[in-house]
């Protein structure tokens, strides 16, 4: 009886396992036709979901990068030359600037076509030619208050009449795009004139940012609020598939104008094979597959298995890829993987709230805390050593950076920190209430906070840590409720002004000067620097401003991070660029090496 029962159970068990086996077999049986793609297809990744393809919302790097494959701007960056230099993109040449420096005249390239799209009803879906009116329309969209663009700051208070047009739109409840603006005119079909309210060298950088990409009015009106999911630009790639949460596919734009791979670069570019394709028509790749990886592990494993062409190195995998002397590990070298290191043009920092009655009024206290902050060990622990300690606000590679500068308050020195703390009125921290530290809730945030507590604890200063979600954190900082917090700033364009404006008093919270630093002398120099062309005088001003914030210590200057990027042997022409968002047109895959 028992034997029989067991026998029955055995066959029962087989039945129970059957569904599992069926699913497993079904899976392997369907293995699996892959979508056909041209051999010269790039496989790239982004670490965040894409927020949209409308250029006026291109606040985050990754949305800007994706949309810049389809949309173009008046100016761009030279792909190979360093330091970063602007080149014409949709403009025929660099603009003519009037002698007073207030009027810029751009001549557009003729024959540039928007990509074919059903929005062009008059031509049966054929893309029409880009004209000066498209430039005016696109720039006015940035200013349209109804659209609440997060890129309005690039034109705010810069172009004659644009702020007034915005105000009028706000009052009327709608924007009149046909209304002429004094500072924004189409002189003829291919000529755009921009008049500034005051002289500014920065306009040109702004015109190379994805925010100022040129869009066709037909597409905006045809797609309405869905325009954010479409890309109808003049660029080298045409959007073929758009799933902002997982995958974006672009195909070569068959109507892209003739644009050639650069034939000049830096001396080492020739040796690194970056000029092999000089003079060839762009884009070099036929297809672009961009996959979204919100987690680092799958991205890294996909790169190692050859399914991605380029990858950053996840923090936890750094030592498995890079040796202690910051070289690529031999096992990766033997696979043909290559490493490239480049500065990120950014700065990390701990901010002091200068509007706070305790920290804002006590320079010695801020200087003491700065001296107690051991940046070298922080860089080793949290950036795997891939960063250089910051001495001031200007990152290396920008005009105004002084490589010889040693910030007297950033040389880790506990004894000196204690001296200054005593001078601040708190010997050994006695009498000093715990400082309120705002932190973002994340495992990394918690680790960094604990480390900071330890460093400040060494001189007798206690930190009360308040942990927030990211929106709460921003709300706390922008409303001047925090005392200390850590932050980072990545340059919007390669000019030290973009870093120094973080200390301009008119930009105080809720603006970008969230440490609320206010120094009339600094402000005066900052305003003066805006008026100056690049040159010795402006460099001296930048350095003077940097020395003022170093002395006043509204920040503990952290680090300028380095980008360590790996790429496969079959990917050609890869050279990191912090600002050329549309640079995928220069890449190509060597199918022979890939096989």
């Amino acid at each position: 009886m028992i034997w029989k029962a067991n026998k029955n159970k055995k066959s029962q068990c087989q039945h129970l396992l059957a569904p599992f086996l069926i699913v497993s077999l079904l899976g392997s049986a369907c293995s699996f036709k892959s979508h056909k793609e041209p051999p010269n297809t790039l496989h790239l990744s982004v670490p965040e979901k894409i927020k949209g393809l409308d250029p006026i919302y291109a606040e985050d790097l990754y949305s800007g990068t994706v949309l810049a494959q389809s949309y173009e701007t008046l100016l761009g960056y030279h792909y190979l030359k360093r330091p970063y230099s602007l080149t014409p993109q949709l403009a025929e040449k660099m603009p003519e600037v009037s002698s007073d420096g207030l009027t810029y005249t751009f001549h557009l390239k003729e024959g540039v076509l928007f990509q074919d799209d059903p929005c062009f009803k008059a031509t049966g879906g054929k893309g029409r030619e880009l004209t000066a009116e498209d430039v005016l329309y696109s720039f006015k969209r940035l200013a349209d208050p109804k659209l609440t663009s997060n890129g309005w700051w690039v034109f705010d208070d810069r172009i004659k009449g644009l702020n007034e047009w915005r105000e009028a739109s706000l009052k009327a409840g709608q924007s009149d795009y046909s209304k002429e603006i004094d500072g924004l005119k189409a002189l003829d079909r291919y000529t755009v004139q921009i008049k500034l309210k005051k002289r500014s060298q920065l306009l040109l950088y702004v015109l190379a940012m994805p925010y100022t990409s040129i869009v066709p009015r037909e597409a905006v009106e045809h797609y309405g609020r869905e325009f954010i999911n479409h890309a109808v630009g003049t660029g080298p790639f045409k959007l073929a598939e758009y799933n902002p949460n997982s995958k974006i596919i672009f195909k070569k734009n068959p109507t892209f104008r003739k644009e050639l791979y650069p034939s000049e670069g830096e001396p080492e570019d020739q040796q690194q094979g970056l000029l092999v394709d000089a003079g060839k028509s762009l884009p070099l790749a036929d297809q672009l597959n961009i996959e979204v990886y919100v987690e680092m592990q799958p991205m890294w494993l996909n790169f190692l298995s050859g399914k991605l062409d380029v990858s950053s190195i996840p923090k936890d995998n750094f030592s498995s890829a890079i040796t202690s002397d910051r070289k690529l590990r031999p096992e990766l070298v033997s696979q043909g993987i290559q490493l490239v290191k480049a500065p990120m043009l950014d700065i990390t920092h701990a901010s002091f709230n200068m509007a706070d009655p305790l920290l804002g009024k006590n320079k010695y206290l801020r200087q003491a805390l700065s001296l107690a902050y051991d940046e070298n060990s922080f860089i080793d622990l949290f950036y795997n050593g891939a960063a250089v300690p910051a001495q001031g606000p200007i990152p290396p590679g920008l005009d105004g950076y002084n490589s010889q500068l040693k910030n007297p308050y950033r040389q880790f020195n506990i004894a000196r920190a204690k001296e200054l703390l005593a001078k601040a009125g708190y010997p050994e921290g006695k009498g000093l209430p715990p400082l309120e530290y705002a932190s973002v809730a994340s495992s990394l945030g918690r680790q960094q906070t604990e480390y900071l507590q330890k460093m400040f604890g060494a001189i007798g200063v206690k930190l009360n840590v308040n942990t927030y979600s990211w929106p709460q954190f921003l709300e706390t900082v922008k409303n001047k409720r925090a005392q200390i917090w850590e932050y980072a700033w990545a340059g919007d364009y390669p000019d030290a002004e973009n870093f120094l404006q973080l200390f301009y008093s008119k930009n105080a919270s809720p603006g970008q000067n969230d440490s609320n630093y206010s120094n009339p002398e600094f402000d005066q120099l900052y305003v003066k620097s805006l008026d100056l062309p690049a040159g010795a005088e402006r460099t001296a001003l930048y350095q003077k401003m940097a020395s003022m914030v170093i002395e006043d210590a509204p920040w503990i200057f952290g680090a300028h991070r380095m980008r360590f990027t790996l790429f496969q042997k079959w990917l050609k022409n890869y050279k990191p660029h912090e600002f050329a968002h549309g640079n995928f047109k220069y890449y190509r895959v060597d199918p022979n090496l890939k096989q």
């Binding site: 129970l16 899976g27 979901k49 949209g52 999911n229 919100v294 399914k307 929106p471 809720p510």
Partner: protein
């Protein structure tokens, strides 16, 4: 029964109202102001004020609450703050990937766990029972992340049995990407479910009617499948039906690590971004599904247990 159903449906009104109130209060207490994130770090005070006005953040809280209630009633939650996509479309787009993963995972888990539960209940106290319980405890003790890291590194990267991650909008290509996350879901869920069903079945095995059936000479399979399983169905159904509405939420970790663009990751993104319209939509949707899931469970009880009647 119809009167009962109508009464239960009417009961959902205060429940949904309570849920909306709690979500609204929680969001306003701890959610943070989304304005700063929406405008970026360059925004000035004027732009912030304009955006707050445009989105109605400057209105009194009670008006904001009433417009939320209106959205709940009309099922029109507008657009996401972060992505500016219509929320109904986001939910529809995310539902397919989530359900593609969750329905087969859930069915497989349920079939396996009920079957294993029956088997180990039958062999109660023997080595197979002990071994299964040990595996169940082990399975429950390991976090899902450990399975994911192991699966991606060994099964996918080292041994090439599955793709490391990815998703395809087309069938059957999508299947290859769903297999490993599906097996991980099953492995993680099996321990708890098997133990639960084993206990439910064992409670029935000890009942007097089972002893009577054995005394009458009924075969063991007949006792188990015809009598024990049927009488164990009430707790089993409760466990199964209550989980069904939650399937729509997907599995956040699995979706994030395997690149599946489902509702789980949409919800978590919304929480991170203070994307209140999406949070409202997802919370209300799940609350409604949960209430209906409960109602469906009660109705199903009458089908499996004649002693239950709905009045």
């Amino acid at each position: 029964m119809i009167a009962y159903i109508i009464r239960r449906l009417l009961n959902t009104i205060p429940i949904i109202f309570g849920v909306t109130l709690i979500v609204f209060i929680l969001f306003n207490l701890v959610g943070g102001d989304p304005t700063y994130q929406m405008l970026g770090r360059h925004a000035n005070a004027q732009q912030i004020a304009e955006l707050r006005h445009e989105y109605g953040f400057d209105q009194p809280k009670y008006i904001q609450f009433f417009s939320y209630l209106k959205q709940v009633l009309t099922f029109d939650y507008g657009r996401s703050y972060a992505t500016k996509q219509p929320i109904s479309q986001m939910i529809l787009d995310g539902m397919g990937p989530s359900l593609s993963l969750m329905i087969p995972s859930f069915l497989l888990t349920t079939i396996l766990s009920v079957s294993i539960g029956l088997m180990v209940a039958y062999f109660r106290g023997r080595w197979i029972d002990r071994l299964t319980v040990i595996f169940c405890v082990l399975g429950m003790s390991l976090p899902m992340l450990a399975y994911i890291l192991f699966g991606q590194y060994f099964l996918a990267f080292k041994w090439g049995m599955f793709p490391i991650s990815g998703y395809d909008t087309q069938w059957p290509d999508r299947m290859q990407y769903l297999l490993m996350p599906m097996f991980i879901f099953v492995a993680v869920s099996l321990g708890y479910d098997v133990r639960f069903y084993r206990t439910a079945i064992l409670e029935e095995v000890n009942q007097d009617y089972v002893r009577t059936a054995r005394a009458k000479g009924l075969s063991e399979p007949r006792i188990f499948f015809k009598h024990v399983l049927k009488n164990s169905m009430v707790p089993i159904l409760t466990n199964i039906v209550i989980e069904i509405p939650l399937l729509i939420l997907g599995a956040f970790l699995l979706e994030s690590f395997f690149g599946i663009p489902g509702l789980g990751s949409i919800t978590i993104d919304a929480v991170h971004n203070s994307d209140f319209p999406v949070i409202k939509a997802m919370t209300t949707l799940v609350a409604i599904l949960y209430v209906f899931g409960n109602l469906a469970t009660d109705i199903l009880y009458t089908l499996v247990d004649p002693r239950v009647s709905l009045k």
